[in-house]
């Protein structure tokens, strides 16, 4: 059970709303140079290109307001095609992650390894997403289109190799490679949407992408319910199915064009104009350090138990609660259906009641229902526990994305979001599943029980309630510029 990327559409709605105003001011500008000075200077624009390309997922989509409209709009047909093709990146992001989570017992059975070894292999696998951060940065140099196409090729290759893994370590290596390219593909896909879609439609386009990430998980659940894992190829068939649409997309993606903003930047480089680039450590400067650490800690403390629980729930349900594979599939499908509602309700709540109260309620709900899920044996209670754990635990993506973006000024927003995602939150991807596997190993684990291990890790989320209540500023109804001014004042006074 993998976590779909958070919903950026609500979190960035303010940015989306602002964009037309910026576009209007652009139209008043007589020349491209004047246009830039009237809307956003060269530095932020480059930041946008860099930041979104550096592995910032949907949850942290940061820079809609900062991207001014290019000279030549894309026609409607091309934008539709672009969205259709990029949807695959989001879909397989959810699909691929879910295979690993939902078929853990089957993979364990094939490779004859303990829960501890399974947990350990998640470390190198998930580090692929960390490496993707650096690979994606190459798109600022070589272009979005070539990196997207090569990432599709790389992901396809490593997915095929995963299906023929001969032991757990070859499996881990191929999944590591797959994660690198999948992460890069996803990030470049988001970049292309941000750079190509008109400001007023970016939020909707990104929301569509996110929905397909959740759909990827649901499809795995449907295939699981259909018994694909019981076929002759067992769990390997799931990886091979993932190849078919990708091969088709590799062909159709030839119709993709390079983004106009990248071409503009490239032309400037070719002309010898220097383009200022935000330094790697810029978000750590005194002005932004407090919020970076605060938001980073909240993401890290949330992600360790969250990913520990999502990675092991299917295994826990089968081995510790006596669920059949079919029951697991039905539960997953239902839970993710409700989970999508959680995203929506969260987005509405944070606009209506504010970020802080929404976050507090969602954190409390996520902790409570996760504990219920991993402690009760009654299947009916488990069903509702899973639905509500997904609703609150995963559904809080929009408010997390608002924390990760709104508190930072435009010129470093993308870099800050990338730091939070690729350095702080990645700890959850890497260590959450590993900790549960090692401590919960039925034979040698200190706890010897997956359910109790996850529950104990949930304690880590309790400090997030305090951090949000005590330190997190409320940004409801504030313009991004006002927030930036206020945050500077907090540090300097």
């Amino acid at each position: 059970m993998a976590q779909p990327r958070g919903n950026g559409s609500k979190a960035t709605s303010k940015s989306v709303k602002k964009a037309p105003a910026k576009a209007a001011s652009v139209k008043k500008a007589a020349t491209p140079t004047a246009k830039r000075s009237a809307t956003s200077p060269a530095k932020p624009r480059k930041t946008v290109a860099t930041a979104v390309a550096t592995g910032v997922p949907l949850e942290f989509e940061p820079t809609i307001a900062a991207v001014s409209e290019p000279e030549l709009p894309r026609d409607e047909g091309y934008l539709r095609l672009l969205l259709l093709l990029l949807i695959s990146a989001a879909f397989f992001e959810g699909y691929d992650s879910s295979i690993l989570a939902l078929l853990l017992p089957n993979i364990q059975s094939t490779f004859h390894v303990s829960e501890a070894v399974l947990g350990l292999t998640r470390i190198p696998i998930e580090l692929g997403l960390f490496v993707a951060f650096f690979v994606t940065r190459l798109s600022d140099r070589v272009g979005r289109r070539p990196l997207l196409l090569w990432s599709v090729v790389g992901y396809t290759l490593f997915t095929a190799l995963t299906a023929v893994s001969w032991n757990i370590w070859s499996f881990a290596f191929f999944q590591f490679g797959s994660r690198i390219f999948l992460g890069a593909e996803y990030a470049v896909g988001v970049t292309m949407i941000v750079e190509e879609f008109p400001a007023a439609r970016r939020g909707r386009a990104l929301g569509t992408l996110l929905t397909f990430a959740a759909l990827g998980t649901i499809v795995v659940g449907v295939l699981l319910g259909a018994g694909l894992q019981d076929g002759p190829l067992e769990w390997r068939a799931f990886y091979l199915i993932g190849l078919l649409p990708l091969l088709a997309l590799s062909f159709y993606r030839r119709r993709l064009r390079e983004t106009r903003r990248f071409l503009e930047e490239k032309a400037k480089r070719d002309a010898g104009q220097s383009v200022e680039k935000v330094p790697f450590l810029e978000p750590w400067k005194p002005m932004y350090r407090r919020n970076l650490v605060l938001v980073g800690l909240i993401h890290m403390l949330r992600s360790i138990p969250l990913f520990g629980s999502t990675a092991w729930w299917a295994f826990y349900a089968e081995r510790e609660r006596g669920f059949s594979s079919g029951e697991v599939a039905v539960y997953i499908i239902a839970a993710y259906g409700i989970g999508c509602v959680g995203y929506y309700v969260c987005g509405r709540s944070m606009e209506r009641w504010g970020r802080r109260p929404t976050a507090m309620v969602y954190f409390a709900g996520g902790i409570f229902f996760s504990i219920v899920l991993f402690q009760v044996s009654d299947k009916v209670v488990s069903f509702f526990g899973l639905m509500l754990a997904v609703f609150f635990g995963l559904g809080m993506g929009p408010v997390m994305s608002s924390f990760a973006t709104e508190l930072f000024p435009t010129e470093i927003r993308g870099q800050a979001a990338a730091w939070i995602r690729n350095w702080f939150e990645i700890a959850g991807y890497v260590f959450g599943p590993a900790l549960v596997g090692i401590l919960g190993d039925h034979s040698t684990g200190a706890i010897g029980n997956i359910g109790d291990t996850v529950t104990l890790l949930m304690v880590l989320q309790i400090p997030t309630l305090w951090l949000v209540w005590r330190y997190m500023p409320e940004t409801k109804g504030m313009e991004l510029e006002d927030i930036a001014e206020r945050e500077v004042a907090v540090v300097t006074t």
């Binding site: 364990q108 059975s109 094939t110 004859h112 303990s114 501890a116 019981d230 002759p232 450590l281 750590w284 400067k285 005194p286 002005m287 350090r289 407090r290 970076l292 650490v293 605060l294 800690l297 403390l301 089968e318 081995r319 510790e320 609660r321 006596g322 669920f323 059949s324 594979s325 044996s377 260590f431 900790l435 090692i438 401590l439 190993d441 039925h442 034979s443 040698t444 684990g445 200190a446 706890i447 010897g448 029980n449 359910g451 109790d452 291990t453 529950t455 104990l456 304690v459 880590l460 309790i462 400090p463 305090w466 951090l467 005590r470 330190y471 907090v490 540090v491 300097t492």
Partner: protein
Amino acid sequence: MKTRSFVTGLVVCFLVFVAIGGVIRTLNAGHHRPEGAAERWLAAVSDTTRKGVRDDAVKRAEKIGPVSVAAPLIPAETHDKGAFPDLEVGKATVNGTTARVPYQLHQRDVDEPKVGVIVLDKAGNDWHVTSLDARQPAEHVPSEGGAPPSSAPVGLWVVAIVGGLLVTIGASALVEWTTRSARNSLATA
């Protein structure tokens, strides 16, 4: 932030992770549960009917107990798939060097679950399957209302809550420190 400070921070984080790893390794040391051995043996026995992995599965199972002991559990026809689509074990009853582990499993293409007890003997640190037996009244798996094979002791829950408080204090201190250090840096700039 200077590169040197950043590298120092990275090294500190690395050391913290190493320390946590050391603590976990110490905590895990010395645990050899009969329930885990029984579960692995059943999983290996299930694989003995799977196409392509039979020989390896037999080796794995034989390390824990004779495959012949499991003969009553293996269904007549498995279509080259695992013998048990799902399995579950309950808490062991340990008496000296002998343990009884209740199990419940579904045989391939059979609706009715198969239940019973796996009997294991301890040799050194390891548990070995010796026979199958019928259940006694109090022997159940968790999905039937029985106790889980293992659970966190009460003390550990207390430790976890204290740990959560310490993390809260540490995180608050870190946020306060970053605020102070930022102010100092800006004041001296």
